[in-house]
Symmetry: C2
Subunit: 590 residues, 2 copies
């Protein structure tokens, strides 16, 4: 790959001396680098291709890191990383993986925040601007946000407050007419109108919020971008630049299939075949999608709700077939929960599906809009558990978040059959908000039908009746518990094995009965220990004569740490658990 | 008081036969009832007075409860309650207090949700509308929301999604040009423009979101209201009615002093003197306000941030004197946290002040925008603890919410001096986000200076060194712990008394040392036990030979239950705690 210009770009200041032709050549080179690298490793594809020219223009006109760029959600930051000293991670296959998929102050002085959730950039940029104003400074603060992210309430709060900041803040709206999937919401009619009228329509969302406004018809045109950026540089008041770009620009398939090329798995550029073949075995996402579709076909009062991520939460089957029973709210998780509460109140059967990491955006709605009103919505929590994920998408916090809110019943299935039974019951019951922690691991199917009745709350299931040691294996970790049980048997301990099923409460009768002939209770949960299931069990036993060992994750933000390393760190392997059990049994004998 | 019309109104259908003159007379009667009742008991004053005519018109035109009204935040629901069978609670002093201050489905079939947080009505109404559409029905769904509440992200998400609902939903915006305090944000320029142009301005916030729009110039004019409501009744698409009203209408002082008459303490209508005299002793709110003002005068990089409730979180002194160092974000708590993170990143010193109940709106921002980035913002949590509050403003959930997020240091001061030292350190330190749980009880002052250094994290303070029983009294409940300590001494137990200071971590060294000569550890916390401080201590000790008793609130939504009753229920009195300690000590002997 010929990189005659990029080879000489090591920091943004190297751009300043380039001619317009050289800048355009640089765009091509960066685009080629991106296509080659991301097709090989996987990652955000379309969003980065669309932002190549704008990123070059930003760094050409402004003076980073004195002038400060805040990229929303970080899906579009690869060109920025390439221009700010991190190009090797995109050019040199040996260095692939040395930079994160999002902005990170640890990586570069050109990054100001670690960001992976949407709709936050304007508010964070307002903070940098206000900090500048009180500390004394005159740099430009630029927030870069996609049209999809504008559907989130935090982005609106940011715009509304940016408008009255009274000093320099530049909000670059990258409008590619797409979220991850298509956009949803009335706002997008106005963005379309503004694109059609080249920003001239009187009725203008940004202007109604009191913001100055520029429109860039072709946000992949370097000359145009530079002209406008020069115009707003050092502006003394808040301004929005509404820039129209093409998502996936420069790679035809990505320009056409915008949703599937938003984020890609590794693929061969020649054959377009995936480089990584997955076993085509059934996943819990498939099971979810199939079950919900079949159920919704028969019951027209079921409404599947998601927030801009239909594919990964298993609602595509409903999305494509039953449009009246499908709502994508955009990146508006708060609205989704309140909507579900209202639907349930009116007798409908709402099923809201989120990733664990994004349910964090709805604590107050879970509590106030839903739980206080005790409306029977079903909430599906996908991706919960300890993962090798980046720091902004960890799935370990949903148990403390959800399970300490009164009235919500949070269930942890251990098998396919139990999962389906819980969905069935969750949809049909009419007494409580119910949440289900969708298993993340390989599908376990026993073939045994599980009755769809969980109305006797907090009733744990004793699967193996033993003594001395009792194992409470929650959800996905039930199977780890079963392995520990098996190993204990081999060393002469006939342990009790329990599937708690309910995260949100204690089976007092069962737990009390264990006191008779058990010395140690262990809890296993696929999440952070602090505020979680195990602590609830520890509290139950804390004034009684029995020892409890809680296994789960430590309260910490991990960042792309391998699962193997995390399991070792948290003693979440059969052998480490056995060793801990032995230790406490010996301690009791002393 | 002459109530010639109201006397005959027992349900909304009784309105239908009234003449326009009678309806106007009814307005006067309701207004008189409100002024007399609320001045006598305290409560929301201005918001209800402004909504008298609109509420009558709503019930005159629509057919509640088949047609459904959803009132945002419930500050304006007294006229609705008066017209829907609950007038006795406003007319008859013996019945005062028999209805809640917010809508409640338990009270009336005309109320659909228990609501006390802002900005939720549109989303909840969308749910009722979507439920109607999938279930089959043709009733009108009406959300009633104040201009102040429009500053919250959830309201925007609601508007944006309501616009694409494709069926009947009516959003009545009650624009009285006020939040609790003045409005903040660019939106309010547009609302002002719309008021000035009587809704005719081309640039229209609601229209940019794709919503149909009507303007009512005088929302206190019954004829005008009825005319427009008749027009939109049974409309087949989403519509906004933007109605201008006068907050406090009909009570001159309230019309003039809108902020102080938003919510009033009981006062004498003749003399205008307060009916309840408070001792003028110092409060923690006063201490906060005084400290922050003095500190901010000397350090121009301090920025005090709050979300539309400056009075109750002690930032009025800064608000009135140091405008450049004061930000009211409107009802936009999410923005407030991200803003603070950005200010801290740029070297400023942000202090965000919320009520415990409202910090619930910011879990994801605390986690993603702040804690992952580990920026040194200070967050003041007011009103945390067990209270006799209504169900929508409970202060018991902030400990599980905040303290299970990594990186945040959550502190619990026990005295005025310790509180000031924590604020001082929290502002000056530059390593972590710090939160302080502002004490809610009477001010305790020892006069002893506390060093403003909490950099040795999770270091508890052993105040009394004893044996057999150790008491960990967290924050406000330290003083309850001291009473228990004293009583134990009287019965021959020389207990250890500890002030943990840190909610978010364990002093392993100190707790381990207790194992030598203690049999029982008790924890006392002014919040829900589930996911809280005590559980963390129970987990620490769970595999060790010591008993732990956790005292705090049960996981439940309580609704205006007296503090006395709650303390009894949760064993949070000296005598009940002593009894529990005795019981476990006896159990150990057996």
């Amino acid at each position: 790959m010929e990189l005659s210009i990029l080879n000489n770009i090591n920091e943004p200041s190297d751009l300043k001396s380039l001619s317009k032709d050289e800048l355009n050549l640089l765009s091509s080179e960066i685009r080629n680098v991106l296509i080659k690298k991301v097709s090989s490793t996987g990652g955000h594809f379309g969003p980065n291709l669309g932002m190549v020219e704008a990123t070059i223009a930003l760094h050409y006109v402004f003076n980073s890191p004195v002038d400060k760029f805040v990229y929303d959600v970080s899906h579009q930051t690869y060109p920025h990383k390439i221009l700010t000293g991190r190009k090797e991670a995109f050019i040199n296959p040996e260095k692939f993986g040395t930079v994160a998929g999002y902005t990170s102050p640890k990586e570069s002085e050109h990054d100001f925040f670690t960001i992976g959730h949407t709709s936050t950039s304007i508010s964070l940029a307002c903070g940098l601007a206000k900090g500048r104003d009180v500390k004394g400074g005159n740099e430009n603060i630029v927030a870069i946000i996609g049209d999809g992210s504008l559907s989130g309430g935090e982005a609106y709060e940011g715009l509304n407050n940016a408008a009255v900041l009274g000093s320099n803040i530049i909000i670059l709206v990258n409008d590619n007419d797409m979220s991850i999937a298509e956009n949803h919401g009335g706002l997008y009619q106005n963005l379309a109108l503004l694109r059609e009228t080249e920003g001239k329509a009187e009725n203008n969302f940004f202007k109604t919020l009191g913001l100055d406004y520029y429109f860039i018809k072709d946000g992949n045109n370097l000359e145009l971008l530079i002209e406008i950026f020069e115009k707003v540089k050092n502006i003394d008041h808040p301004v929005v630049i509404h820039m129209q770009t093409i998502k996936g620009k420069g790679y035809e398939d990505a320009e056409v299939n915008k949703e599937s090329f938003h984020w890609v798995m590794p693929f061969d550029l020649e054959t377009k075949e995936p480089l990584v073949k997955f076993e085509s075995s059934e996943s819990y996402t498939d099971i979810t999608g199939k079950f919900l579709l079949e159920k919704a076909r028969k019951d027209k009062s079921i409404v599947a709700i998601n927030a801009a991520t239909p594919g990964i939460v298993g609602v595509n089957p409903i999305r494509y077939e039953l449009k009246d029973q499908y709502v994508d709210v955009g990146i508006a998780e708060e609205h989704a929960i309140a909507l579900a509460s209202g639907i349930a109140k009116r007798g409908g059967k709402p099923v809201v599906s989120f990733l664990s990491s994004f349910i964090q955006r709805t604590y107050d709605q879970l509590s106030q809009d839903l739980a206080i009103n005790n409306n029977p919505a079903l909430i599906m929590v996908h991706g919960g558990g300890i993962t090798a994920s980046d720091v902004t998408h960890l799935g370990v916090f949903d148990i403390p978040l959800i399970s300490n809110i009164p009235n919500i019943i949070y269930l942890a299935p251990t098998t396919k059959e139990e999962y389906i039974a819980m969905m069935e019951w969750g949809i049909e019951q009419d007494k409580h908000p119910v949440a289900i922690r969708v298993p993340r691991m390989n599908v376990v199917s026993t073939g045994d039908m599980v009755k769809a009745d969980f109305s006797e709350l907090n009733k744990y299931v004793k699967v193996e009746d033993g003594n001395e040691v009792a194992i409470l294996g929650l959800g996905s970790f039930y199977h780890l518990g079963a392995k520990v049980h098996e190993r204990l048997k081999e060393i002469g301990i006939n342990a009790t094995l329990i599937n708690p099923r309910f995260i949100t409460g204690v089976d007092e009768e069962l737990l009390t009965s264990l006191l008779d002939n058990h010395k140690v209770v262990i809890t296993l949960e696929d999440g952070v220990l602090d505020g979680g299931f195990g602590e609830m069990i520890s509290r139950f036993y804390s004034d009684k004569d029995i020892r409890v060992l809680n296994f789960g994750a430590t309260k910490e933000f991990t960042d792309s740490v391998s699962l193997e390393e995390l399991y070792k760190r948290y003693h979440l392997t059969k052998d480490l658990i056995i060793a801990d059990i032995k230790k406490v049994l010996e301690d009791i004998k002393l």
